[in-house]
Subunit: 347 residues, 2 copies
């Protein structure tokens, strides 16, 4: 393990993408979104993705200079064509459009097509929440999960996220994959050479497995069986079918498919809270909800009842102060990527 300062790591990643011909704005957003994930303990969506992102650029599978275009705009609804840009950059552009329109019109729903892996949904949700909006974000993803009753990957672990401002330092931010566990946790276990608990995934023949690599060749399982499977498909419909992006097998795997862009789709819904209730009252109600939660009796061994986003926010604060710990293999991979591009690893 080595420890790296978050700001220095962000600058390093940004320079990697700059060296790969990404414009300054794009490189900065992608780097920030990756380090944001590492800060919040979602390492699966963090700088571990630098290598594949760079490879996607190199092979022409991601176009870091493409414009992101609002192809339909009717104020309260719209469509964004990501132009096969980096997902994080497409996401930020969509976020800016959806928040501006929600503030003006009270609500806005934007569909996004021709995007790529956009990192953690929380990255967008938190920005909207800091802006005083209620936010829902969905995305589809390439196939990693069998549908209920199936044996091989058919659906993505399509995430669903909600965020709300409150009168506390830490906003409520739920960002959940529809798998029982995030696929990224298995990627990390495989990187670390560790086993995974039984029940997280099946191998490529559909058999339960504790082998992280076999699980990556196979499939993670939906949360709650048919419920998670149905929810993932609903998110795919909102993100893909509605937007013109890929859906189901039409969302390409960034690790396996070198012939086609991913064509990931997203769905952003922003709501101006004041259209329903005065914002300060809403925030106080959230605070009272949190107080009630914290006052609940706790199960044995539980020190505190936490709401969605608290664990991540605490890690973020700690890691911003103390730096981000990276596994040795990951550090070595990043250093190599830097050396190949003349980008110095942070001292």
């Amino acid at each position: 393990m080595s420890t790296v300062d978050a700001e220095a790591l962000t600058a390093f990643c940004r320079d990697l993408f700059l060296a790969a011909d990404a414009p300054a704005e794009v490189a900065a957003v992608v780097a920030e979104s990756l380090v944001y994930a590492d800060l919040r303990g979602i390492e699966s969506h963090g700088v571990v993705r630098c290598e594949i992102y760079l490879e996607r650029i190199a092979k022409g599978m991601v176009e870091p200079r493409a414009p992101v275009v609002l192809t339909k705009d009717e104020g309260v609804t719209g469509l964004v064509d990501g132009g096969n840009q980096f997902g994080a950059y497409v996401g930020v552009k969509a976020l800016q459009a959806v928040t501006e329109r929600a503030k003006r019109h009270g609500i806005c729903a934007l569909g996004v097509c021709h995007s790529n892996h956009f990192g953690t949904a929380a990255y967008y949700v938190e920005r909207a929440v800091r802006d005083g909006l209620a936010m829902m974000v969905m995305s589809n993803a390439s196939q990693t999960m069998p549908a209920a009753g199936g044996v091989r990957p058919f659906l993505g672990t399509n995430p669903l996220a909600f965020g709300f401002p409150g009168d506390r330092e830490v906003p409520f931010i739920l960002d959940m994959a529809t798998s029982l566990v995030a696929r990224g946790k298995i990627i990390m276990a495989a990187k670390r050479g560790e086993d995974i608990p039984l029940g997280w995934a099946v191998d490529k023949e559909g058999r339960p497995t504790t082998d992280a690599q076999a699980a990556l060749d196979g499939a993670v399982l939906p949360m709650g069986g048919a419920k998670g499977s149905g929810l993932s498909m609903a998110i795919d419909i909102m993100s893909g079918v509605l937007t013109g992006a890929g859906f189901g097998p039409g969302v390409r795997n960034m690790y396996l498919d070198w012939q086609n862009p991913q064509n990931v789709g997203h769905f952003f819904l922003a709501i101006d809270i004041a259209r329903f209730v005065e914002l300060d009252l809403f925030k106080r109600r959230i605070g009272s909800f949190i107080d009630q939660l914290k006052a609940e009796p706790r199960a044995p061994g539980v020190e505190e009842l936490l709401y969605a986003g608290e664990v991540e926010h605490r890690l973020q604060t700690k890691r911003q102060r103390e730096g981000i710990q990276l596994a040795d293999k990951l550090t070595a991979d990043l250093k190599r990527l830097g050396e190949e591009r003349g980008v110095a690893w942070p001292a």
Copy 2:
């Protein structure tokens, strides 16, 4: 078991509510929504609820003659005050308002407060889908589930529902509680005197239990642990905090609290698909998604991969033709309710 014709059962229930001073429109909607649930195999939300609904009227806890009022209306957003009417009637009124506005403006989000138990969310979603809209419905509910890390009920099994039209007879309708299993399944098991599987619920001391009655005195568990807990809280925020309805412990239990109205909240989001993609193309894409699902390899013992709403729709068709089977105890209860009010049980 006895078998009752769906139409005759609906008329019977309607007459029960008419006898309890509900106007014709209210009685018809509430009866239809209950029988709809029975037809679709969601017996927990079916005519088993007649008795408690009638009791809530008798004790002044539900007001079947109250007006349902749109207290805020800005076209794309709005607030509905249910006036402590029956949830199903409030839901239908909100549905009418939200679909009409979504067709006019492209999208509409309505928050609903001062409502009651509104039955299955699918009842509203299916109507919107038949109308060519994409629909999301949420509701909060009284406390039956501990938050992650807690021991006693703090959150409702707050349902989340999505529906989309397709080029098939059966629309995609996902209607899921955020508990691992619907609390209603435990109510039915208790009515039948049956045990429940371990893992569905805890008793009132927070211990795992297979006793259905002990589970009802205790709590059902969220799906996916912290995920289901967070999702339930997010739904509560959209349905309760945002709308001015109760939230968390503020949503009253219709079986236990005879001092206060339930103050349930709902959230309806309707989307005009044509704002994003031509409706026929959307429907064909849904059809293609379904075809791909059906063509997937199946796990051993699985005859067909089903999408959300198919099981329910098949039951509905069968039961509309063959009648609805009711447990003897339930039939006896209904007959008694009819006798007390001079309403004849269907021959």
